[in-house]
Every structure is written in structure tokens, then in C-alpha cells.
């Protein structure tokens, strides 16, 4: 039985729980989300400043945050693009680790120790290129399976994660590789006017991704696919190509994250940064990216990353162990989702009453 906007068969699982949310997501002005995040950021700054008088509000703290943020930021971007396209990439950590391992292997076992100057640069470039190609291949594999084979992204990336992780373990037998050449380490350790180079890289990449998603045909198509794949395909968009691009871009961002991780930790291994998966999802949702796809802005993501990094640094200074921190991240994710749910319920009832006003006039 139909009202104004008849709903046809929606057999997707999401539809049952999310029809209201879709309404709200469409109505919600993204501006209000940004304002909320800015307020939260401000509030947290005050909170931690009060909790840690003298230690929190220092340039050194800010610098420390800028050192720690880049790899999480790049991985969050790697998670955000598939999310916006209506999918999910659970393999980002495994991809980053595997790329790091490959590049580390070249730099520690293949490259002669005495190499310097131009030869060193060449070796580093080779390692980086190898990592790039590997991530590209993983991206193509995942993309083709999602786009051409029609497999659910969760399954695809679970499978890719297992395969890639398995390869990592097989090749390293669980050991880590370390001892990278100095120019590579400088990426994380050196600063430019006090700002770490890795942070500048993150900022530049974030700007590029934002422009890509909002101003290029590819980015716009990614959004449209995320909200209705079939209709977008009907409209003449090559959805297969776009989906493959989504996973290729995601994997290439993992490559950048791998470089930063290698530079910061001076080691690469199969099991590094596993807990990041949760945090990247948290950052995406907090930043306003709709987990069902179709909506999301990078500026929101950046703000939410700043918030999460602040919380993380605050926890660090408060002496929380990493495990306690991880548990708290889980709680934070649930809390964020609860708040959004509450806000959505309020907005829906507001929409309903205004719609009934309009129905009378229609």
C-alpha cells in the first residue's frame, strides 16, 4: 500500500533498519555535522587541559600528535573511499603490512649496505615502486572480485586479508624486519617549520582525496554508486570501472601508510597495527561518513581524526595502557553511534510532521 513515494521491493538487509536513516542522511546538512565536530574538538581540548594542567597544552604535545596521526589518517582515508562507495575494505591493515614487508625486504636483504647517494636513492625508489605495484595488484584483485564477480565487499576483503596476511606470515615466519636507510626514516622524523613531513604528506593527500571525491566525475560517481548501484549503472556510468578504482585507490593509500609506518617504527611485520581497523571505522563514522554508503566528506573525517588523536594523546599522557585505550575506542564507537541514532530519531520526527504538512497541500 503506497503513499506519495511508493517503496518498491527492498530486499536488501539494510533497508529494514536503515530506511529512516537514509531519510535523515539526505536531510542532514553536512555543515551541522562539521560544527558539531568542531565543538567536540574544542570541548575535548578544554577537558584534557584541565585534566593535565601544564602538560597537555604544549607545543610538544601538538607536535607529538602530528607525528602520530599520519598513518592512522592515511588508513582512515583508505577505509573511507570504499565506505562511501557502499562497500568496506577490511584488508587495509594487511595490505599496508604486506607492502611494508615487501619494501622492507628489498631494503634490508637485497640492497647492499654500503649503498649511498644516487645508488641509495635508486634502491629506495625501487623498493617504493615494488610496494606501489603490490598494492595496485591487491586493489585490482579486490576491485575485480567486487565489481565483476559480484561478491560482497566484506567477503572479498576478508578473503584478501587472509590471503595477504597469510603470505606475510609465510614469508616472514612471524619475524619482523628492521633497519631501514636513513633517508626513509627522515620522512617521519624530520620536520619542516616544526611540522613533521609525514603530516604534510597526510594533509596534501587529504586535500587531493577531498577534491577527487567532490569535484571529479570519478568521485561523484563513487558517491552515486554508494547510494544506488543499479540506477547509476543505468544512467550510463561504468560502475565496474569505478568500483575497481575504489579498491585500487584504497590500496594505494595503504601503500602510503606503509611508508609512513616503516619510517616511524623502523620495522615491518605481519601483525603491526591490527587495532587500527576499529579506529579507522570509528574515524569514518564519527566524521559523518554513512556506513551504508553514498555520503561522507573528508573534512569531517579530518576533524574526527583530530579528535581521536587528541583523545589518544590524552590517554597516553594519562598513562593508560594500549589495551585500555583500545577498549575505550570500542566504547567510543558505540557512544558515537548512539548519539547519531538519537539525533536521527529527533530529525525524523521533525521531517514527518513537515511532510504531513506538505501532503495536505500536494
Amino acid at each position: 500500500m503506497t503513499d506519495e513515494a511508493p517503496l518498491t521491493i527492498m530486499c536488501s538487509r539494510r533497508a529494514l533498519h536503515a530506511s529512516l536513516d537514509r531519510l535523515v542522511a539526505a536531510l542532514r546538512a553536512s555543515g551541522s555535522n562539521l560544527v558539531g565536530l568542531l565543538l567536540l574538538l574544542g570541548g575535548l581540548t578544554v577537558f584534557f587541559a584541565m585534566l593535565l594542567p601544564g602538560t597537555f597544552l604544549r607545543v610538544a604535545t601538538l607536535q607529538a600528535m602530528m607525528f602520530q596521526l599520519p598513518e592512522l589518517g592515511l588508513l582512515s582515508l583508505a577505509m573511507a573511499i570504499p565506505l562511501i562507495s557502499g562497500g568496506l575494505n577490511l584488508a587495509i591493515i594487511a595490505t599496508a603490512n604486506q607492502a611494508a614487508l615487501l619494501m622492507a625486504w628489498i631494503l634490508t636483504t637485497q640492497m647492499p649496505h654500503e649503498a649511498s647517494g644516487g645508488l641509495l636513492a635508486l634502491w629506495i625508489a625501487t623498493a617504493l615502486a615494488a610496494g606501489f605495484l603490490l598494492c595496485f595488484a591487491i586493489g585490482i584483485l579486490s576491485g575485480v572480485m567486487v565489481a565483476v564477480m559480484g561478491v560482497h565487499p566484506i567477503l572479498v576483503t576478508l578473503g584478501t586479508q587472509t590471503l595477504v596476511g597469510g603470505i606475510s606470515i609465510w614469508l616472514t615466519h612471524g619475524r619482523t624486519l628492521s633497519g631501514f636507510p636513513e633517508p626513509l626514516l627522515r620522512v617521519s622524523n624530520e620536520t619542516f617549520f616544526g611540522i613533521p613531513i609525514s603530516f604534510i604528506v597526510l594533509a596534501a593527500v587529504a586535500v587531493v582525496v577531498q577534491v577527487l571525491l567532490t569535484r571529479t566525475p570519478l568521485g561523484i560517481r563513487i558517491h552515486m554508486i554508494g547510494s544506488n548501484l543499479e540506477a547509476t549503472r543505468f544512467a550510463g556510468v561504468d560502475t565496474r570501472r569505478v568500483q575497481i578504482w575504489v579498491y585500487v585507490l584504497s590500496s594505494l593509500l595503504c601503500w602510503l601508510a606503509a611508508i609512513i609506518m616503516m619510517a616511524r617504527f623502523n620495522s615491518a611485520g605481519a601483525n603491526i597495527a591490527q587495532s587500527y581497523l576499529l579506529i579507522t571505522i570509528l574515524a569514518a563514522i564519527l566524521g559523518g561518513i554513512d556506513p551504508y554508503g553514498g555520503f561522507g566528506r573528508i573534512d569531517g573525517l579530518v576533524l574526527s581524526l583530530a579528535i581521536l588523536q587528541m583523545i589518544s594523546s590524552g590517554f597516553n599522557l594519562l598513562g593508560f595502557s594500549e589495551h585500555l585505550t583500545l577498549a575505550l575506542w570500542g566504547v567510543t564507537l558505540l557512544a558515537v553511534m548512539s548519539v547519531k541514532r538519537l539525533a536521527a530519531t529527533i530529525q525524523v520526527s521533525r521531517f514527518r510532521s513537515s511532510r504531513d504538512q506538505r501532503k495536505h497541500h500536494a
Binding site: 527492498m10 530486499c11 538487509r13 539494510r14 533497508a15 529494514l16 533498519h17 536503515a18 529512516l20 536513516d21 568496506l88 572480485m145 565483476v148 564477480m149 559480484g150 561478491v151 560482497h152 566484506i154 567477503l155 572479498v156 576478508l158 578473503g159 584478501t160 586479508q161 587472509t162 590471503l163 595477504v164 596476511g165 597469510g166 603470505i167 606475510s168 606470515i169 609465510w170 615466519h173 587495532s275 581497523l277 576499529l278 571505522i281 563514522i285 556506513p291 551504508y292 595502557s321 589495551h323 585500555l324 585505550t325 583500545l326 577498549a327 575506542w329 570500542g330 566504547v331 564507537l333 558505540l334 553511534m337 548512539s338 541514532r341 536521527a344
Partner: protein, 334 residues
């Protein structure tokens, strides 16, 4: 006008028979490669080694049929195992209350997943990623990662129900974990095929909107489903500690993917409404044989690669077939 052929039944039948065929082929290969493979003792060891995985896979299977997914079961199993071990060692709790506590705690943690998924209106994978991290990290934080190794004898003593020795010295045993596993498998199968609750779960997985229209209440159903997985997780943790004689908080970390993989291999789908316990058993068997064979050949580190490839190949085949069927069916009117 085109009539629909039999896409779903055909595919479904194919999954189980395809699995069986692959298992036979792989077993043949391994038996040629290693003389130890096709022995009774190897077989019983294999079954017992995978008893925990099977128990968990039964629970994951039920959740998948309902259309959800839950990856927090390993964390739940670790938490319940540790708490139960604490009670048994520090306060000398006997067997029944200990097991009861483990299962009850598991049910509770599972129900929390259901409540969060329902009230927050977010996909179950994200909710369970969150709860998995919370449960795990809290456990490690509180315990410092140390294991409990002085478990009481009733817990750790190996219980053998049946043992035979063949003429060639080959030994076959039926042990407690195996029995529990069989009981869980049978119980789950009966629950899903013969009870009202089970059929409602299939219905809900197949068409959630229609299910709520005819009066199936979503929240109680999800509480049952996730609670059941939690219950089995408690049981699995108990069996795990029984086998390794310790309660190790980090032992089950990272095993989530394997368990989900066997359920999906066995025919359950993320979409919901399909799957059978028989398929799940075959999935467990396939991966178990692969791991066992690789171990015997001395290339155990290769396992992850093999599992990953198996998953990718199987989901590709399934996904591609399903897609071709739905494409053929597309022009439905006029």
C-alpha cells in the same frame, strides 16, 4: 516470457556436493604425499583439534542465516574462559557451576550485541568489531595477558569415551571435545530445521520486511540468535581450556576469520536465509584437512595463503554464478 529456472536450489546443492568433491580430491592428494595422513589416529586428532572451531562455526552459522554477522565470539570465548577459570581455581567452583557461568556469561555478552545492533541501527559487523575490541582489550588490560595454568583436574583430565587399536597399531579415540562437538552440531541442526524458532530465523534472513509484517518480532529473534552464539562461545572456551590445560587470554585471538570462513564456505551467505549445518561441517572439514595436510608436509606457514585462496576462489565462483542468474532474471515485466 522467461520462467525462472531453479537457481537457488541448484546452487545450493552444488555448494555441498562441490565441497565434498574438493575434500575427496584434496584428501587423495595428501594421502599420496604423506603416509601418515590416512590413519585413524590422524583422523581423530584432526577432528578433536577442530572441535572448538566447529562449535563456534555452528553459532556463527545461525547468525549468518539470520542475515547478520558477528566477529566478537572469539573475544567472548576468551573472556568467559578466563572468568570461569578464575572461579574454578581461586574459589574452587565445581564443574557444573563453572560451565554454567561460562555459558551464561557468553549468552549475556551475545545479547548485548543483539541489543546494540537493534537499537543503534548499525550493521552488525561494525557493532561486533566494537564489542570484540572492548571485550578483548578489557580482558588483556585486567589480566595483563597472563594465563591461568593450575586448572582443576576435572577440567583438564583427558576423558576418553572410547578407544580402539587396530592390528597395525593405529589408535582411534573418542574424547570429550568430540562428543560435545557432535552434540552441538546435532542440536544446532535440529534447532534450525525442526523448531519454530529456527524456521523463523530462516524466514527473517530471507525477507526481513515480510517477517516483521507477519508478526515475527525482530528484537527477540536477534537476542536468541546472538545469545546462542554467545552460549556456544562460552562452551567453546571451556573446551579449549580443557584441551590445552590452560586458560590463555590471547589463545583465540585472530581465529575469527577462520571460523567465519568455514561457515561461508559451507554455504551460509552474508545475505541471510540460506545455509545448512551439513555444509558447515564440510567447510570445517575442508579447512581442517588442508591445515593437517600442510602440517604433515612441513609447510604449515603456508596455511594462511591456502585458506585465503580457498575463500577467494569459492566466493568468486558463488558470487559469479549468483550474479549471472540475477542478470538473466532481470527483464521481469512485459
Amino acid at each position: 516470457m522467461r520462467r525462472c529456472t531453479n537457481p537457488i536450489a541448484f546452487l545450493f546443492r552444488r555448494t555441498e556436493t562441490a565441497l565434498a568433491a574438493v575434500i575427496i580430491v584434496v584428501s587423495a592428494v595428501f594421502s599420496l604425499a604423506s603416509p601418515y595422513f590416512l590413519t585413524l589416529s590422524n583422523a581423530t586428532d584432526l577432528i578433536e583439534a577442530n572441535s572448538v572451531t566447529t562449535i563456534l562455526a555452528a553459532g556463527v552459522f545461525v547468525v549468518l542465516v539470520s542475515g547478520g554477522i558477528d566477529i566478537s565470539f572469539a573475544a567472548v570465548a576468551s573472556v568467559t574462559q578466563y572468568v570461569a577459570a578464575l572461579m574454578a581455581t581461586r574459589y574452587d567452583w565445581p564443574v557444573l557451576p563453572t560451565v554454567g557461568l561460562a555459558c551464561a556469561l557468553g549468552v549475556t555478552l551475545g545479547i548485548i550485541n543483539a541489543l546494540l545492533t537493534y537499537y543503534l541501527r548499525v550493521v552488525s559487523i561494525i557493532v561486533t568489531i566494537a564489542t570484540s575490541s572492548i571485550y578483548y582489550a578489557t580482558l588483556i588490560y585486567v589480566t595483563g595477558g597472563t594465563e591461568i595454568y593450575n586448572l582443576p583436574d576435572w577440567w583438564t583430565n583427558r576423558i576418553i569415551f572410547f578407544q580402539t587399536k587396530t592390528a597395525s597399531g593405529d589408535v582411534a579415540r573418542i574424547t570429550l571435545p568430540m562428543l560435545i562437538m557432535v552434540a552441538v552440531v546435532l542440536m544446532t541442526h535440529l534447532l534450525m530445521t525442526r523448531t519454530r524458532a529456527g524456521r523463523q530465523i530462516y524466514a527473517f534472513g530471507g525477507n526481513p520486511e515480510a517477517a516483521s509484517r507477519i508478526g515475527i518480532k525482530i528484537l527477540p529473534l536477534q537476542m536468541h540468535v546472538y545469545g546462542y552464539l554467545g552460549f556456544l562461545a562460552g562452551l567453546a572456551g571451556f573446551v579449549q581450556a580443557h584441551r590445552v590445560h590452560q586458560a590463555v587470554p590471547t589463545a583465540m585471538f585472530g581465529t575469527e576469520l577462520n571460523v567465519v570462513a568455514v561457515a561461508i564456505l559451507g554455504g551460509a551467505s552474508l545475505v541471510g536465509g540460506v545455509g545448512s549445518m551439513g555444509g558447515v561441517i564440510l567447510g570445517v572439514l575442508l579447512l581442517a584437512i588442508l591445515q593437517n595436510g600442510l602440517n604433515l608436509l612441513g609447510v604449515s606457514y603456508f596455511f594462511g595463503v591456502v585458506v585465503g585462496l580457498t575463500i577467494l576462489i569459492s566466493i568468486s565462483v558463488t558470487g559469479y554464478a549468483e550474479q549471472r542468474i540475477s542478470l538473466r532474471r532481470r527483464p521481469e515485466t512485459s
